[in-house]
């Protein structure tokens, strides 16, 4: 994830956020199983605008020729002619501009001082965060005493500065799909059952064809684009690290955008995170225990006990016996992903062994609770009571949330409805940040705002006096900045001057807010694909899906892809 971008600070731009969401094509309707409005509006414009906006805004005043959204750049009066709409097509929702962040000083490249409400792992305060290179060098009420502050660009965020969210459970290549592509036809008992649905199988075939795994040749081989699209869905929601279980492993293209936390190209110098989506073979399990012993694996994320029946439950015991040395996977390095079927005894064992847990409530309820029974999820209050470290993550787009912010909101809903409101907003914040970092054994590097940690940050708007509540209310529209390793990759147009300029960032409309997104990097090749723009990525995915549909291998259609953002 070495950044190959050139920064050249631009004049201050203030977005007034004009808005004319374009109706998109509503795809084949699967019946949503969740009554939330956000689940029922799945509309994608499919509009792609490959032009970029941050180099030289047009001064023609011409309307957007593509028919997509327009955003007015206040300081020039020019109409931005290169905006891609990423709205959910809600047919004209009110578009009230939110207070914008402001760049109050242009400094040297590679140094940024963010001012606002700073949320650390345990508390929050009005103050500053100084970023130098890829590292946080100050987080305090004032960083004026820090040498780097004097020459840094200064951003008055008028918002809340948080650590970037960490997604420890995703199947990122599936994130081009959603429940319009497949929805379970009933509530299931365990994860071995629903893969038998024909439509699910057809979707897997499509994914495999696109990713050059299987199917008729030639195949488009767009696994890189699928991975990047999934990472972008996270980035627009403040997610800076993702364990995406992408295959084939360790592709060079994973080195862009968010940290691909379970792969070598994570920009952290090494990869000591192993992920397992299926129950391991004895050989594999013994290998993991060996890796625990020699330190080459410090975090093992394994799907266990996904479901609500005894088949799912029994996986936990099998995890102890699959290895030549019994119970060697019952270890602090092991994070149980799901753990939905686990009861008191298993959670007690986990706690005693220092094992950790990643919770994906929406996916659980979708698959095992018919989309409505909020009790069909992991016993999180019990796990927490026993001292288990719990993280939260969205799993995937089909019934799982579109991003971490969605999942946090859903977790809050589950907590309020099924747990008796045992989880505070602060606890949920920690599940998405420092707890998640602990699950991947990287809490010394990421997961909180602290001096010396990587500058993986997000900034949101909202009530700064209640930042944890604001996080639970936030959507990608409210995300004012997402920064990975000190590089601004997404945010409000108003502060695009702190973002890279070469290659140029793109402008997208997110629920009536004009945002920049920086996808292309210099040094791109046909192998690493660093030079791709978001528009090119989206176009490749749409073409791939359309081409797959044209093969007519199944009665179901999968184009277009799920939108980058759904609007409430």
């Amino acid at each position: 994830m070495a950044r190959r971008r050139t920064f050249a600070l631009l004049p201050l731009l203030v977005v007034l956020a004009g808005c004319s969401p374009e109706d998109g094509e509503v795809r084949d309707s699967a019946v949503p199983t969740d009554s939330e409005a956000e689940d029922t509006a799945s509309v994608d414009t499919g509009a792609i605008d490959s032009t970029v906006s941050d180099s030289a805004p047009s001064d023609t005043g011409a309307a957007d020729s593509s028919g997509t959204d327009t955003s007015i750049l206040a300081d020039t009066g020019a109409i931005d002619t290169s905006v891609s709409s990423e709205t959910g097509g809600d047919g004209g929702a009110a578009c009230t501009p939110t207070p914008a962040p402001v760049v109050t000083k242009v400094g040297v490249v590679g140094k940024v001082l963010l001012k606002g409400t700073v949320v650390t792992a345990d508390t929050f305060f009005v103050g500053e965060v100084l970023v130098e290179g890829d590292t946080i060098t100050c987080a305090a009420a004032s960083c004026s005493a820090s040498a780097g502050a004097a020459t840094a660009s200064v951003v008055e965020t008028n918002g809340i500065i948080l650590p970037g969210l960490i997604d420890t459970h995703n199947h990122i290549l599936f994130d081009i799909f959603d429940e319009t592509d497949w929805a379970p036809t009933k509530a299931y008992g365990n994860h071995d059952q629903w893969p038998g649905e024909a439509r699910y199988g057809a979707m897997v075939d499509a994914k495999q064809w696109l990713n050059n795994e299987a199917g008729p040749t030639p195949r488009p081989d767009i696994g890189c684009e699928m991975d990047k699209f999934g990472e972008l869905k996270g980035i627009v929601a403040g997610t800076t690290s993702i364990a995406g279980s992408a295959n084939v492993a360790n592709k060079a293209c994973y080195g862009s955008l968010a940290r691909t936390i379970d792969q070598t190209p994570n920009d952290l110098g090494s990869d000591k995170v192993q992920a397992a989506t299926i129950f391991p073979t004895k050989t594999s399990a013994d290998g993991v225990c060996g890796n625990f012993a020699d330190g080459s694996t410090t975090a093992y994320l394994i799907h266990i006990a996904e479901g609500v029946d005894t088949t799912a439950l029994n996986e936990f015991a099998k995890l102890g016996t699959i290895t030549t040395t019994p119970n060697c996977l019952y270890a602090p390095q092991t994070t149980i992903v799901h753990g939905t079927a686990l009861g008191d005894a298993e959670l007690t064992t986990m706690a005693s062994k220092g094992m950790k847990l990643t919770w994906s409530p929406r996916s659980n309820v979708y698959l095992y609770g018919g989309g409505t029974d909020l009790t069909k999820t992991t016993k999180i209050p019990l796990a927490i009571a026993k001292g288990i470290n719990v993280a939260i993550a969205p799993d995937w787009s089909m019934g799982g949330s579109q991003n971490m912010l969605d999942e946090l909101r859903y977790a809050d809903k589950v907590d309020n409805s099924a747990f008796g409101d045992k989880l505070t907003p602060k606890m949920l914040f920690q599940m998405a940040t420092i707890n998640a970092a602990k699950n991947v054994a990287l809490d010394a590097v990421i997961g909180s705002i602290a001096v010396g940690k990587k500058a993986d940050l997000m900034v949101i708007g909202g009530d700064a006096t209640a930042p944890y509540d604001a996080l639970l209310k936030a959507t990608p529209r409210d995300v004012r900045l997402t920064m990975v390793g000190g590089v601004a990759l997404y945010g409000d147009k108003a502060i695009q001057s702190i973002a890279p300029t070469t290659p140029a960032c793109e402008t997208i409309d997110v629920c009536c807010a004009s945002k920049f997104v920086c996808v292309a990097e210099s040094g791109g090749t046909t192998t690493n694909k660093f030079g791709q723009t978001y528009a090119e990525i989206k176009a490749a995915i749409e073409k791939g899906l359309t081409d797959y549909d044209a093969l007519a291998l199944t009665t179901w259609k999968f184009a277009p892809s799920t939108p980058l953002v759904r609007c409430p």
Partner: protein
Amino acid sequence: METVPRICCLGFVFLLSCSESAAVDAAPEPAPVKLRRTFAAAVEGGLALLDVDDGHVVAKAPGGVVDDVVVDRARGRLITFEIEPDEEGGAIVGRPIDSINDRTLLGSSAGVLRFAVTDHHVLVFEDAYGPRWRALDGRTSVFAPTPRSAWARGKRLHALTWEPDGRWAERSVSIDGPDLGTIELGSAPPLSSSSPRMVSVDGRAVALDVASGKLSLDGVDTGLAAAAVVDACPLSEHAFALLASGPTRLVVGALGGPYASLAIEGQPRFDPRYLSRSIVPVSSSRVLVAVTDRVFAVHVRNGASPSLSIDEHFAAQGAHAPIDGLLP
């Protein structure tokens, strides 16, 4: 033996008594048919071509850790599933039999793959985002549990599967073209362990199981201690070979006849949930057995006092399971 598919293989009727001293095969022994080439995982990764006479590695082809290997006779190629030790999933690689360094990426998987070969197709059993079957060159996949054993009868492939509802079953599917037809679900003999295997013998599937810690062959208790059946395949028209674990043991016998067994050093490489590939019959009198760290050759002496013995001159320490061979 011309078209014996290596699934582990076409079989012939056998039933066993519990004698280790009687003839392995009472029928006249056919002229030995020698295996021309054997391919196994190279110790250092990639693929090894073995001399079946002395075990020397004749050639190596670089690659990932070979997790499965089959010979696709119909297309004159080797198919391997190659993984990275610390990653889930891997690559499907094709190599010409006569030029194993020419590596072609055919596909990949996010989970575990096993292959089965028929006269005209290579089938892929994948356990990733659900268990699925498909033809390697096919267009679509079909949901079905991952086979524990598989065998071909004409254009149909049969398999022993553990069903989601918690029972053993024999599934079968027609393989007329690149896409699989409907996978039919049948019943299976009563099986007691979590690691049984089945072999097709004279038109019926014979159960190889472990009951109460003893190896059971077609429902007959052998009295041999065993933890699991690792692999099994026909050895000759009337005989079979199997590898068991706990302890590691090669068993050779004939339906209705006696058997012989031999302890094998080392641990077998297998997972009871998937097909394994640990035995290659070179001829009716010679078997190659691959474990986790090497390959053994075993002499099969037939006659009134059958016996098995290690070929001490065979030294395949540069290769290990999985193993498959090309019959002439």
